[in-house]
């Protein structure tokens, strides 16, 4: 009996599944193709290109926009502003959270301020920002920082609070204090939450910026991606409006699926802190 069991090892056959990265990519492409098909069918069926341009018309407009109308440089204009605001907000948030970790009063204050400003849509303070800083990059940065700072601070603070007691004590056991303790123990231990906060912050920043640009062009004069959408809507180039929106989605997907995914793969996933 045992001899038979030994000579015929049981092979566990997994259900059909494309392995690893390739499989995931293929599934994603399949889903996107399906959605594009539905879109194309809906556009052809309604047959009103000025309201709903077809998928192919939108892609043609996108290619045309990229090749002939500087759509990529408009996107870069938007992204450059966004990255500035984003980085500024992250630095401010980490500073505030570090102070809050060390001091009970500062922590209470931060919690209160976060709860106050979290529900306030960033775009709602744009009129005020324009009054204070005029029509320019400063106003955009102000609303961007507002959009990213609070959700990111909340996630980071939650992450710091969730650091296991054992790891805190290990840090204290080796005599770590102040900034060294934050850098060596708290930040890496809270990294899953910090990355989550960065992702949320990114999404907030991106939609805030596009919305703000619909109100006025980006400061450099040539205008950003939001401005491109707004301008083309005024001229009823609906296919170009769709092309602009598609690009907003593509950039969003790229940052989420490639940039953040890669960061997670080489950190928290590799360390077994996140599945």
């Amino acid at each position: 009996m045992s001899d038979i069991a030994r000579s015929t090892p049981v092979r566990i056959v997994p259900p059909f599944r494309l392995p690893g990265w390739g499989g995931r990519l293929l599934r994603k492409i399949l889903i996107l193709a399906l959605l594009a098909g539905i879109w194309q069918a809906a556009a052809l069926w309604t047959d009103k290109p000025i309201l709903i341009p077809s998928f192919t018309a939108t892609m043609t407009a996108l290619a045309d926009g990229i090749l002939n109308e500087g759509l990529l440089s408009a996107s870069w204009t938007s992204l450059a502003v966004l990255l500035k605001g984003y980085a500024l907000a992250v630095v401010i948030a980490l500073t505030l959270v570090s102070i809050a970790v060390a001091n009970g009063f500062a922590r209470e204050t931060l919690h209160t301020v976060v709860s106050m400003f979290m529900p306030l849509p960033a775009i709602a303070i744009l009129p005020l920002a324009m009054l204070w800083f005029g029509l320019g990059e400063a106003s955009l940065l102000f609303v961007l920082v507002h959009a990213v700072l609070w959700p990111f601070a909340l996630a980071a603070l939650g992450g710091f609070d969730g650091v296991p007691e054992t790891q805190r004590l290990i840090g204290r056991n080796y005599g770590l204090k102040g900034p060294a303790y934050i850098v060596h123990i708290l930040i890496p231990a809270a990294l899953p939450s910090i990355l989550y906060g960065l992702k949320i912050g990114w999404a907030f920043a991106w939609r805030t910026l596009i919305a703000a640009e619909l109100v006025f062009g980006a400061s450099s004069g040539e205008g950003g991606l939001g401005w491109y959408i707004f301008r083309n809507r005024n001229e009823l180039f609906t296919d170009k409006v769709f092309a602009g929106l598609a690009l907003v989605i593509i950039i969003g997907l790229f940052v989420e699926g490639v940039v953040f995914r890669t960061i997670e793969n080489i950190t928290v996933r590799k360390w077994g802190m996140q599945r």
């Binding site: 290990i170 080796y174 005599g175 060596h184 123990i185």
Partner: protein
Amino acid sequence: MLARTDDFTPARPAFEARNLTLDYRTSNGSLRAVDDVSFTACEGERLVLLGRSGCGKSSILKMLAGFIAPTEGNIFVRGRPARGAGPDRIVIFQEFDQLLPWKTVRENVAFPLRVAEGVSRAEARDRAAEALRKVGLERAIDVFPHTLSGGMKQRAAIARALVTNTDILLMDEPFAALDALTRRRLQEDLLALAEEEGFTLLFVTHSIEEAILVGTKLHLLSAHPGRTITTFDTAEFRLGNASGDRFDSVVSEVNGLLFDERQRHQDREDSHKKEPA
């Protein structure tokens, strides 16, 4: 001047707890967790704190480590009063997440050298590898902790304690979350390392057998609040001979003391309950 031979080296105290008392603040006043506990461990001794769950033995270890301050009493490390936590006493916890998940096993072991002793990166790497070899982990040096089994994680934690210049180890039920076989292997290896390295150990456990076998001195604590019941000299017992009449009689004596004590504790609670009636 007196001639001193190797046969007679006066044992110097490595750490000492003097009249430790700890009150926890609660919503209605304070709760005494540890009540007037004193002990001394000389260099190379292995002092075991044994008691039932909630008797304050982990709190005593945390006070020794400097993580919490005693309400009353003093702690001395090498004759000097200890203030706060520090790398002169390395703690090994029961929890597996004491290994930092973002560092490889080697980086974890090298960590105290880098942050507490300011050793160069290259030297820390070499010393970490050497410490990992001592605990039998030479084949799992450059992997991340989440890939290790529970026993291997505790071995790595022991290596991280051995790598430093510190020779006072405070272990808080380090093997309690391991299966029986792995626990026995780790107990054996810990004792072999103690023999080899000569560190002084404070070992907290709730297992009577483990307490007698691992320690040279057994400090028995009552339940809630933790008070010293009595102490035993257990240096004669080795893992190899965990049987025999002497061993059995100590086990049953400890058992009896813990049971008696539990009975008294129960009676006391019952009488409290009856009082209002």
